[in-house]
């Protein structure tokens, strides 16, 4: 887990398995995380990443998540991406 000075950097190339273990690690250190940044320089490996971000937001609404706070972002290899949370 890449957590430094309250900033968590998530590698967008993480597989589903590593995202799942990452979720557990984040949970253990949730107090220390202030901001989440997605490193998408090499593209996004799994769309589960998006769900994970939403899950982090749900667990700790005060953590800043660049990816969620803008209406849309440009993701390497995918283009403009927006997340829409619906019932």
């Amino acid at each position: 887990m890449n957590l430094r000075d309250g900033v968590l950097i998530i590698d967008a190339k993480s597989s589903n398995d590593s995202l799942e273990s990452l979720a557990k690690e984040i949970l253990l250190n949730i107090e220390d995380v202030k901001e989440v940044i997605v490193d998408d320089a090499l593209g996004v490996e799994s769309s589960a990443l998006f769900s994970l971000l939403v899950s982090i937001r749900k667990t700790a609404p005060n953590i800043a998540i660049d990816f969620l706070d803008k209406p849309s972002i440009n993701v390497e290899g995918i283009g403009i991406v927006s997340l829409d949370i619906r019932g």
Partner: protein
């Protein structure tokens, strides 16, 4: 069956399904000719059909649908509204598709009637339309794109983030691809990167929108085996054909709904309309209780199961239910009275009921498809008779046993034809002079009422003239001249075999089979049919059916030492007789004065020859049975209760006793015969006539 045959069977079934799906859509198109989604659906069905036909060497079918597809594809893209003559051509073309398919299926040589004629019409329409077809650029420039770009941030972003100038897309199109995803896609190896990569080969993805289900759990429960992405919208700028794009999705298209459409640039504003995510998240916390429910909206996946397998399963469940009720009612087991045992017994009972209702629900399908078919029927009859008719459907989602649905089509078709032909007045003029709308209304509705399924066919026509019916009934010998009949009794003459009120035999409803055939089919489904009518106001035919053929709601009665089940649907009430109301009429039998009506009494033990000993009336229970040829009373020794039982056929014996319609196994393991109230009535009629 070898492999080829099996594949062929699958193919034929698939084709039939496609045809069945398209039919109602075409009719809907008549009402909303500009519904591009509808045209798209029809197009896609025909497209699949073409693929199938060609891969199985069905040349006649392939040739025809090929042109039909071309025609459809024009209307799919074009902005112009379809007119009724074009929809009519679609419908006629579709009819040809249906008959060509039958020719191919049965291996009949030659071509169906009108094949070339309609193919010619299609080709003619194609020529005309092709010259009118606008290029995509024209459409783009004509659209409000220029304004959209100023107003819509998202479009700016598209322009900003892609190297394309959307004002000048060089004949490329923007496709909207919607991918609905199941929650288990990761387990099935879904990898969105692959799609993106394949799509990138065809063009540029300019925008993608992930629809994430609110039910995403907190990190404690976060699990990547489950996908929370409900749907994915992608916007692809490409010069490829739509089919090339769909091909990419082919291998997941079975399980996931993929839809593809060309985006009108105007529509791009839709993309941008989205709740700010923070706001949505606030909503999450409030509505997390409902999140379980939300799972339902995730795309449904389904598997196909042979109905024979379902029947077997259903039989086994029936036995399970019986075994369970045996155990729970067994005196010895109850005597143990151990808390733990009782708990498990309760659990067993509960799970059994759940399994039973789930398995039942597997057999249940909405009546919708049958109802939609009726639209076509009414349309055809309306054209033939020249009467303007509007058919209103309601309760299409009401579910009913699949085996019954198949058998309902015929009677419904007959009743609807009957309503149009006989119910609605001859002309709009006649209606208007009566103060009605010129267009006749027919309402077809379905609903659950208790443990019954009720279908109503209501028209606002002239109503049934009972004096004419009676006159005819007398002419035909169904009724006696000097007898006073009730309105209901007169209307029931309609259901007599060979009774037809049409002045001339019409092509529509006078086909030799009358309402008696309808009544018979309904009775075969253990149902009944009633009629209500008011002169000048209209007529209602009401079909009342059990929800399933496999289970019946019945009264358990004891006659001598035997148990019998009397179907609740035909029971009016049960009561202890008052001896002074009972009369014996020499040569006619026994009667009772029941609420002012003199009703015949049937001693069940005598009728069924169970025992020669006579049970005194005062120690017995009477059950009043409803029947359209008149109520009657059955005498039983004891009424034990009311329960639902699984109907078992008497197999080889079933044709032999008209008074018995089947058997049921009670909780004790004992067999109870099911009384056929129709058969008992026939017996009475027979006695009277003799």
């Amino acid at each position: 069956m070898d492999k080829h045959d099996r594949v062929m069977e699958i193919f034929l079934n698939e084709c039939k399904e496609i045809l069945e799906e398209i039919a109602p859509k075409l009719l809907n198109l008549e009402d909303t000719p500009n519904d591009k989604i509808l045209i798209n659906d029809i197009f896609r069905g025909i497209h699949t059909l073409k693929g199938n036909a060609n891969s199985f060497g069905f040349v006649k079918l392939g040739e025809f649908v090929h042109h039909f597809e071309d025609l459809l594809s024009i209307y799919r893209k074009e902005e112009s509204v379809l007119d009724s003559s074009e929809v009519d051509l679609f419908i006629r073309s579709f009819d040809i598709v249906g008959s060509v398919f039958e020719y191919e299926e049965e291996g009949i040589n030659g071509y169906p009637q009108n094949y070339y004629e309609i193919l010619g019409e299609i080709k003619k329409a194609l020529n005309i339309k092709e010259s009118h077809e606008q290029s995509f650029e024209e459409i783009v420039s004509a659209s409000s794109f220029a304004h959209a770009s100023q107003e819509r941030q998202i479009v700016e972003k598209m322009v900003e983030h892609t190297q394309y100038d959307l004002k000048n897309i060089d004949g490329k199109k923007i496709y909207e691809i919607k991918l609905e995803l199941d929650s288990d896609i990761y387990l099935r190896g879904y990898n969105h990167q692959i799609f993106f990569r394949l799509l990138e080969n065809l063009g540029t993805i300019i925008y993608s929108n992930y629809i994430i289900n609110e039910s995403v759990p907190t990190l404690e429960e976060f699990n990547t085996e489950h996908s929370y992405i409900k749907a994915l919208y992608m916007y692809l700028l490409s010069e490829s054909d739509e089919m090339d794009i769909l091909d990419i999705f082919e291998f997941i298209a079975q399980e996931h709904e993929v839809s593809l459409s060309v985006v009108e640039l105007e529509d791009i504003k839709e993309i941008e309309v989205q709740k700010p995510i923070n706001e949505a998240l606030q909503g999450i916390n409030e509505s997390s209780d409902e999140s379980a429910k939300e799972h339902k909206s995730v795309a449904k996946s389904s598997i196909r199961v042979e109905s024979a397998k379902l029947d077997e399963l259903f039989d086994s469940i029936g036995e399970l239910v019986i075994a369970q009720s045996y155990i729970s009612q067994n005196e010895q087991i109850r005597a143990i009275n151990n808390n733990e045992l009782n708990q498990y017994l309760e659990m067993l009972g509960k799970s059994t009921r759940i399994i039973q209702s789930k398995v039942m629900s597997l057999r249940m399908i909405p009546i919708k498809d049958t109802f939609l078919k009726m639209k076509r029927v009414v349309r055809d009859v309306s054209l033939k008779t020249g009467k303007e008719i509007e058919l209103f459907l309601s309760g299409e989602d009401t579910e009913i046993d699949k085996t019954m649905v198949d058998k309902l089509s015929e009677p419904l078709i007959h009743l609807l034809r009957n309503s149009v032909d006989h119910g609605i007045e001859e002309s709009a003029h006649e209606r208007i002079s009566l103060g009605k709308e010129g267009c006749g209304d027919i309402y077809l509705s379905a609903a659950h009422k208790g443990s019954s399924f009720v279908i109503e066919i209501r028209d606002d026509g002239r109503g049934i003239d009972t004096s004419k019916i009676l006159q005819k009934a007398i002419e035909k010998g169904f009724a006696k001249d000097n007898v006073a009949y009730t309105q209901d009794e007169i209307i029931n003459f309609l259901f007599c075999a060979g009774f037809s009120t049409a002045q001339t035999i019409t092509d529509i409803s006078g086909r030799g089979v009358g309402l008696d055939a309808v009544k018979q089919s309904i009775e075969e489904l253990r149902g009944k049919i009633t009629v209500e009518s008011e002169i000048g106001v209209g007529t209602v035919f009401r079909i009342i059916l059990p929800l399933t053929l496999a289970i019946i709601d019945g009264l358990t009665v004891r006659v001598d030492n035997e148990m019998l089940i009397v179907p609740t649907l035909s029971v009016v009430e049960s009561f202890s007789p008052i001896i002074k109301d009972i009369h014996y009429v020499k040569g006619e039998g026994e009667f009772i004065n029941y609420r002012g009506e003199i009703l015949p009494i049937v001693r069940l033990n005598k009728l069924l020859a169970l025992n020669s000993s006579k049970t005194e009336f005062e120690y017995s229970t009477f059950i009043c049975i409803d029947h359209e040829r008149g109520k009657y009373i059955i005498q039983v020794d004891e009424l034990l209760g009311r329960q639902q039982v699984v109907i078992k056929s008497l197999g080889v014996l079933s044709n032999n006793v008209k008074e018995i319609s089947g058997a049921a196994i009670l909780g004790t393991g004992q067999i109870a015969l099911i009384l056929n109230t129709e058969g008992v009535r026939e017996h009475l009629d027979f006695e009277y006539n003799a």
